[in-house]
Amino acid sequence: MIDRLEQDLSFFRHALGVRGYRQELLASNIANADTPHYKARDLDFKAALGAALGTMPTVPPVRLARTQPGHLGGNGAPPFAGAMRYRAEYQGAVDGNTVNMDVERAAFAENALQIEALISFVNHRFRSMQAALQGQ
């Protein structure tokens, strides 16, 4: 019973995870709108969701080789590293920054709406399950 529930909801869980991470990336772009040489990044949503669901081959996380005890391990690759893309430059800036505030804000608002939609889908699933359980 519980495993069915998990099966039913795992898609939403993964989708929310990817959406949440994309929201973080977009927030990073907005935060670094004035940082010289910063390159705006975004997720290839399809690839990231595929990686999260395990339906798409993923790039194995790149780790630093530690051949001496004094070497630092590094933080490893961020989640969905294989699906991360640099945004195509829209208008060049002298300081090498490629953040376009309008694009980032639009994407941020759109992604927020997508998250809200996902949450209402999950809520709807719960409500229909509850209705089925009550058998009325």
Partner: protein, 133 residues
């Protein structure tokens, strides 16, 4: 969105932008100062931003240093001024008031946007907490 990283990212941007606003305020306040605290003419200060990795992915921003503008000082002919040199010129700060105003507007807009990002993240999180209710 997990681990409140988005708040760390937007929060670091708020800190950085307010540091920039501080620099602008001090530049504007000293636009006509003859001598700074160290006795030398005041030089316009500029903050330097750098992307800062946040634990678990995402990039915040931090101020790495405050640099002084290398632009030449404004020389004003005013022989009556006690701070004038032997030729009668007074060295005034190299603050460009127009530039500072533009900088100020840019910083305040960026601050607002990052505050909005935080608000959106907060709204989404409280929505997430109501799942299944």
């Amino acid at each position: 969105m997990s681990d409140f990283r988005i708040f760390a990212i937007a929060g670091s941007a708020l800190t950085a932008q307010s540091a920039r606003l501080n620099a602008v305020a001090s530049n504007l306040a000293n636009a006509d100062s003859v001598a700074g605290a160290d006795g030398r003419p005041y030089r316009a200060k500029q903050v330097v931003f750098q992307a800062m990795p946040v634990e678990g992915g995402g990039l915040g921003v931090r101020v790495t240093q405050v640099v002084e503008s290398a632009a030449p000082l404004r020389m004003q002919y005013d022989p009556a001024n006690p701070a004038a040199d032997e030729k009668g010129y007074v060295a005034l700060p190299n603050v460009n008031v127009v530039e500072e105003m533009v900088n100020m507007i840019s910083a305040s807009r960026a601050y607002q946007t990052n505050a909005e990002v935080m608000n959106t993240a907060r709204a989404l999180m409280s929505k997430t907490l109501t799942i299944g209710q």
